[in-house]
């Protein structure tokens, strides 16, 4: 067995660990793996070109940028923050957990493209979350804001991942079924999808608890600040 192509993995690990610019690191890794596996240069170039253009859907999020850019120019984030500040009963945890539930339910019926970092987190969830956090801790600094946005993006990811596996007509379930069919085991998509439900519930509970703990951490800091101030 030819172990040399593994050097491509090593290029990735070292390049990412040393925080080099990721684009040349990834391309170098691809060239290294391909050449060490004995591909010719024209063959490798064609493989790289073909794989790249067949994944064009991954750049679709840039089409959201003009609309979002225009709305942010017109004050979308400021409005989301002002509105959140008025809604007293909508706490940070309720906002994020509610979003998590909605995202997960949409994903379980296969609607994963409806929400996402570009479509919903940047224009809506993140500024609303920042405003909700400011209600708890008015002296929010730049690090806190960035952590909050990261938590919002993480909540979006977790809702999507642990919802989509329950949907019977999408990637994961069909891939599992296809693999078993090739190896002589017949399973219905529903039988596979049902076993994703326990993890979907566990993921919802775990992320909700972590969001709640995050909110409690902010509340404690606010209490400590008040105690120091008075």
């Amino acid at each position: 067995m030819n172990y040399w192509p593994l050097l491509g993995v090593a290029v990735i690990v070292i390049g990412f660990a040393l925080r080099f610019n990721a684009v040349p690191v990834v391309v170098t890794a691809a060239l290294a793996s391909g050449l060490l596996a004995g591909m010719s240069v024209p063959e490798l170039l064609a493989l790289l070109g073909n794989s790249f253009v067949s994944e064009r859907m991954l750049l679709l999020f840039v089409l959201t940028l003009p609309a979002i850019g225009l709305l942010e120019h017109a004050g979308l984030r400021e409005h989301a923050q002002r509105w959140m500040a008025r809604l007293q009963s909508l706490t940070l945890a309720r906002l994020l957990i509610g979003y998590l539930l909605g995202r997960q339910l949409l994903a379980t019926v296969g609607l994963t493209g409806v929400a996402g970092a570009a479509q919903t987190v940047r224009p809506l969830l993140a500024p609303m979350g920042e405003a909700a956090a400011e209600k708890i801790l008015p002296e929010l600094d730049q690090d806190d804001r960035e952590e909050l946005r990261a938590v919002a993006a993480a909540t979006d990811n977790i809702g999507r991942f642990f919802g989509e596996d329950v949907f019977i007509a999408l990637g994961a379930v069909l891939l599992i079924q296809g693999f078993y069919t090739q190896h002589g085991i017949e399973l219905s998509p529903l039988a596979i999808a049902l076993w994703a439900l326990p993890t979907a519930v566990a993921a919802f509970i775990i992320q909700s608890v972590r969001v709640w703990l995050y909110q409690r951490r902010l509340q404690r800091r606010a209490a400590a600040n008040r105690a120091r101030g008075s």
């Binding site: 790249f52 003009p66 017109a74 004050g75």
Partner: protein, 322 residues
């Protein structure tokens, strides 16, 4: 009929516009980067069609263009352009427009949802309005255009200003936008050069697989590790199943195939939350949200991933050997 290719042409037009604006502003490297990428997007169908017809030359040129992008990327400074309006102006506008600002923003998910649900039934004459492959994503592209139109009406600003604002955001994301495509391409190169098979062979040779629990743990951790390396649980699944899942767990230890497949895949999803290789979920959002730490999103979700993995493994261990 609307196809996903129309969305790609729209992206190409936006990228070429960004290149042109950068050239006019004197940012030569940005201009070259977006222009090359725009040309790749515009020519994508032609490249794939020629490849399918047996002519490899366009694909080879595309491969060379990808290498050119890799050489250009380190020259791009990821500095955000100055905001085009002051905080005071934006606040005034926010007060004036109020909830109307939410309408275009909500149109993006809403129109996508409508196309995903009802797109298949929309027929003009005898032609379907939406081609069935990638219908949701075609819907998302349409939704973006509808939202831009609505936003320009609400804010009483020309649509071209929106495109200019979009270019500002695109320059702020910079080369990070490219990573999902490159990493997916890398995954294909890894598969073609046998990296997956080698790792699976190493895993089965050196890891304990003697008793059922040890084999199950090796399988589950292998799914995580392999997903971290490949950035995608779908790439890890066939390799780990063929190496450990099928021969050892199912045939030898009598594991339940549906539970093993489903929960094994979910173990891989926990790996996706941990790896910069899954750039579209972890690095692009960090860039979009203007985090200074590119690994900020991974940091925020790492402990969730660990706990979800632990729960899934425990449930799998309790259920799979019934």
């Amino acid at each position: 009929m609307l196809r996903i290719e129309h969305a790609y042409w729209l992206i190409a037009a936006f990228l070429l516009y960004s290149g042109w604006r950068n050239l006019r502003d004197g940012h030569r490297w940005h201009a070259a980067f977006w222009t090359v990428l725009g040309l790749l997007f515009g020519a994508g169908d032609f490249i794939l069609a020629q490849s399918a017809a047996g002519d490899a030359l366009p694909a080879q040129v595309a491969g060379a263009a990808v290498i050119a992008l890799a050489l250009l990327a380190p020259r791009l400074k990821r500095q955000a352009h100055p905001e085009s309006s002051s905080a005071e102006q934006r606040l005034q506008s926010a007060i004036r427009l109020g909830h109307r600002l939410f309408v275009p923003a909500l149109l993006i998910p809403l129109v996508t949802l409508l196309v995903a649900l009802f797109g298949a039934y929309l027929v003009i004459g005898r032609h379907a309005l939406f081609a069935s492959p990638q219908m949701t994503l075609t819907g998302l592209a349409l939704a973006c255009v509808v939202a831009l139109f609505a936003a320009s009406r609400v804010a009483r600003t020309p649509m071209l200003e929106g495109v200019a604002e979009g270019r500002r955001l695109l320059d702020a994301i910079s080369w990070a936008a490219l990573l999902p495509l490159l990493l997916a391409a890398l995954g294909q190169v890894f598969t073609q050069s046998g990296v997956g098979a080698v790792i699976a062979a190493l895993a089965t040779d050196f890891l304990p697989t003697g008793n059922a629990t040890a084999a199950l743990l090796t399988f589950a951790l292998g799914m995580v590790l392999f997903t971290v390396i490949m950035g995608n649980a779908f790439a890890a699944f066939p390799v780990m199943m063929a190496g450990i899942g099928l021969p050892l767990l199912i045939h030898q230890h009598g594991a339940h195939p549906a539970i093993l497949g489903s929960m094994g895949m979910l173990c891989g999803y926990c790996g996706t939350l941990l790896t910069p290789m899954a750039a579209d979920f972890n690095l692009v959002p960090a860039a979009l949200l203007e985090l200074r730490n590119p690994y900020g999103v991974i940091k925020a979700q790492a402990w969730s991933a660990v706990w979800i993995f632990a729960c899934t493994f425990l449930m799998m261990w309790l259920l799979v050997f019934r």
